[in-house]
Subunit: 116 residues, 4 copies
Amino acid sequence: MNDWDDNTPIYLQLRNTVVRQIVQGRFAEGEVVPSVRQVAADEKINPITVSKAYQMLVDEGLLEKRRGVGMFVCPGAQAKSLDSERKAFIAEEWPRVVERIELLGLDPRQLLKGRD
Amino acid sequence: MNDWDDNTPIYLQLRNTVVRQIVQGRFAEGEVVPSVRQVAADEKINPITVSKAYQMLVDEGLLEKRRGVGMFVCPGAQAKSLDSERKAFIAEEWPRVVERIELLGLDPRQLLKGRD
Amino acid sequence: MNDWDDNTPIYLQLRNTVVRQIVQGRFAEGEVVPSVRQVAADEKINPITVSKAYQMLVDEGLLEKRRGVGMFVCPGAQAKSLDSERKAFIAEEWPRVVERIELLGLDPRQLLKGRD
Amino acid sequence: MNDWDDNTPIYLQLRNTVVRQIVQGRFAEGEVVPSVRQVAADEKINPITVSKAYQMLVDEGLLEKRRGVGMFVCPGAQAKSLDSERKAFIAEEWPRVVERIELLGLDPRQLLKGRD
DNA sequence: GTGGTCTAGACCACT
DNA sequence: GTGGTCTAGACCACA
């Protein structure tokens, strides 16, 4: 989380890592998340970039703002994010991957073995 | 091939569909591919965009230009593209997919079965 | 008065509810209002926020501080607040509402009827 | 549209004026809207500020982006925006206004007369 | 030409 | 301390 993939916007990558933390329960529901400034300092990126990532999560209903206090993980955020991420994956990403595998004539079993 | 995914550049999407045609043998080796103007008109996109896609394929050694005549599928293009696409998929796309699957706690075998 | 509208500052919302109490005579002239600490505890908000709201009312001449005793509703506060709130409403809020209604093509009489 | 209310963010004011243009049919469906840079230059504000306003409208489904070309009013945007703005007004703004009027003991008929 | 992203630095309001 | 907004200026990808 200290080096960035240059092909995708930092704010998106950051958003994804936060979602991951929530999914993994490392950011517990009801807890504060690190402040915009804190993250900006830690990751050496612009506060606005962090802000954009957090704002996305607020819009998605995973974080909530408390004025002058900070941003908190919404109750139910873990299940919600896990669920929506799964749905998005199965509906959008996975079909493309399957199509690709078939087009390339690859063997799915072979691919899975490589991973074990 | 008439509507575009707004998240990836049109020229890339176009390049991919051409590769697909080559892999599937629908664009046979040694044959002409539709002219830039033709594709641009058919797909209602900018000729420059088509040009860019074709140029990529020339750079990859899948197409060759014959001045004043058109662009042709290189001999051996089918095997070549199949090979390089496979390598690229296994090296780059697949690992990301696997990581995603694991993060979401999904079962790869289950996903693959769904497709049978 | 237990949940806050996140779009307007808490201190303003608090100030407004106090004004409302005065207008409605629920905080009678000459009487004490609940202490800063009390309100802060009841509403689970920062004492400074409560202070700020009370200070506004002192500045507006609706409350007065008596050191070591508390804050009291000024004599004449009810009439005064009713008057100034009315003026503020007619001068600022109402014109904006009317403009909005006209832009949306709504019928003001219809809207008012709905309330009867 | 040349001077800004200092109390509300410029990007929100801008968003609102664009919605107004759509509602009034001054920005017709399917047409381009002025480019980010154009508006920024005209209004002497930062392009990013304009961008933010436009992005909101994209998210609301009133504008759509065409890569490298510009932003266009979505088909059905006029009805959609009129409808949603009306609903938002009646559900949120209007009840607060009515409450305010009643609290202040104002006469709705009187208020409406002032407008004629 | 179009929009997207990021930076650095400033100022503001709220708690 | 918190987040929100804006500016000025830069660089990039796309058509």
